[in-house]
């Protein structure tokens, strides 16, 4: 009986859900329930109004960004997923060992690791090919990387005029200096 009354209170179904052989509640019980419903209802309404009033009175906390105006100061949020990037330290070195796990983890085949051998015969990264046109920014490559070599960057102004410009080479070759988004010949 208790359960059905509770469900009627919550869902307010019409016609009300009924159970057989329920003892009829007295007028006092009925009116107490009625009053209690009104009081709890008003309390929950006031709780909701309190929340919205707090939003209203704090205009500095709005989420909306005035984008073209605040382009210089705009900082993307922590959980924002941008393009894959390979961070380099101040000596121009990165942590990638050309193991190819990210390449296997990528569901779209947007990563290709082209490995070469250095003078001592060790396998090193030749070119980290990243095709942003195929990327869905799922972040599985970042999760798969055992060395933490790649991250999802915070850039979002990625529009270009030519499709060929969407194939990036992420590692910077030491001789050519910094060319993060050199045009790919591998498309």
């Amino acid at each position: 009986m208790q359960n059905y009354e509770k469900m009627n209170d919550i869902f307010n179904t019409y016609p009300p859900m009924k159970q057989k052989n329920v003892p009829k509640e007295s007028l006092l019980e009925h009116s107490t329930r009625y009053l209690k419903k009104i009081c709890t209802g008003f309390y929950s309404l006031i709780q909701g109004m309190d929340i919205t009033l707090k939003y209203f009175l704090n205009p500095k906390k709005v989420i909306t960004q005035q984008y073209p105006e605040n382009r210089d100061t705009l900082k993307m949020f922590d959980r924002f997923r941008g393009p894959v990037s390979l961070p380099h330290n101040e000596n121009g070195e990165h942590a990638c060992t050309a193991c190819g796990i990210c390449e296997k983890a990528c569901p779209n085949g947007s990563i290709s690791i082209l490995a070469t051998k250095d003078v001592s015969g060790r396998k090193v990264l030749g070119q980290y090919i990243y095709r942003i046109s195929q990327c869905t920014f799922c972040g599985l490559c970042v999760e798969a990387c055992p060395f933490g070599a790649i991250v999802l960057a915070k850039d979002f102004e990625l529009t270009v005029y030519d499709r060929n410009e969407l194939t990036w080479v992420l590692n910077k070759s030491k001789s050519q200096g910094s060319s993060d988004t050199s045009q790919g010949e591998y498309s």
């Binding site: 307010n12 109004m49 919205t52 009033l53 939003y55 209203f56 709005v62 989420i63 909306t64």
Partner: protein, 362 residues
């Protein structure tokens, strides 16, 4: 002439000036001036309220609202209006042409007719019929007629469903509204809106919201709930429930005929708030608190500023309701009216009668 003078109490500076210069035709000139002022007031109010609604709703939802057109979007209503004027008025196939084009005019006409008798200040009121309260209740029926005609003539099942819902809701809640207004008529002893305001003269505690011990504030809260339902605003916006009926009775309307519904909706919100001010918050009276120094400053502010200030405060409360509460279901709405509001209102009315007999009511 004297009867007409009491009906049109334009005893302010401009009205008297016209009477001095043109004693013969002052009656007609004053009426034309008043109606012109009313048209300007209604059209500017609609755009102000639409801008306010968008800004306030934005901030309630942690957004900014319109920001692009002018400084903080203040020219947005003009841009909206231009867009609506330039848009074509489409008539669906099989719609009843006469009724379809006639329907949007009813709600807008009703707003003009009610705005004419609102007491904005001591001598700033177009007409003051002795049965002003009855007039208000009667004219607000025109809005329902407009909605029903719009829904019926659109040849669209969603429009018809929305219109039927709107009519059922407005007719049900009008009973509660009438009972609350009847309570105010009982305690103030008059049905003229100006006299109701004048009956609250004095300190802030002479307003009907405070003057009736405990019952006044209860009646005020009930008035807010009932008038929100009467306005078809969220949480009672079943008539145009976007998720169920696309837009309800104005689904098929576009361009200026949609704008008429839209304007009428917003000006009706102002009218409801203005009536709440008139009935409960002392109309154009300043909130005097009994300290002569403060009261002197408060009294120096003109009455229409107090009137509009109080009205916009209540409009803010309506907007606050709208952007906080979720929509009710139709059976919940009806049970709210017939099982809660109506019995409570009847008990309230009875208690006010008892209070008056015992001499506690003011």
């Amino acid at each position: 002439m004297s009867a007409a003078e009491t009906l049109y109490p334009l005893h302010n500076g401009i009205g008297n000036m016209v009477r001095d210069f043109f004693p013969e035709s002052a009656f007609y000139i004053n009426a034309v001036l008043g109606l012109t002022a009313l048209i300007i007031l209604v059209s500017s109010l609609a755009s102000i309220l639409i801008y306010l609604e968008r800004k306030v709703s934005g901030h309630f939802q942690v957004r900014l609202g319109p920001m692009r057109v002018g400084y903080h979007g203040i020219l947005q209503p003009i841009a909206d209006g231009l867009k609506l004027i330039l848009k074509e008025i489409l008539k669906p196939k099989g719609a009843d042409a006469l009724t379809f084009y006639l329907a949007p005019m009813f709600p807008l006409t009703a707003t003009f007719l009610i705005m004419a008798i609102l007491p904005y200040d001591h001598h700033l009121q177009l007409a003051d019929p002795a049965g002003g309260v009855l007039y208000v209740l009667g004219i607000s029926g025109l809005t329902v007629l407009g909605l029903l005609l719009a829904g019926w003539s659109s040849n669209n099942k969603l429009s018809l469903l929305g219109a039927i819902r709107a009519a059922a809701q407005m007719i049900s809640f009008e009973i509660s509204l009438a009972l609350i207004i009847l309570m105010i008529v009982m305690v103030s002893g008059t049905a003229s809106l100006r006299e109701i305001v004048l009956s609250q003269q004095g300190l802030i505690f002479d307003w009907w919201i405070f003057k009736l011990p405990f019952l006044g504030i209860l009646a005020f809260i009930m008035y807010l709930v009932v008038s929100t339902a009467e306005l078809n605003r969220t949480p009672f916006d079943l008539a145009e429930a976007e998720s169920e009926l696309t837009a309800g009775f104005h689904t098929e309307y576009s361009g200026m005929s949609f704008a008429m519904f839209f304007f009428a909706e917003f000006v009706n919100m102002f009218i409801s708030a203005a009536l709440a001010t008139t009935f409960f918050l002392g109309g154009f009276h300043a909130p005097l608190i009994g300290i002569s120094f403060v009261d002197h400053i408060l009294n120096s502010i003109p009455g229409f500023i107090w009137f509009f200030g109080k009205t916009f405060f209540i409009i803010f409360i309506y907007m606050w309701f709208r952007w906080t509460f979720p929509r009710l279901r139709i059976d919940q709405l009806m049970s709210l009216e017939w099982k809660m509001m109506l019995p409570v209102n009847l008990i309230l009315l009875m208690m006010v009668g008892v209070f008056m007999v015992l001499g506690w009511a003011g």
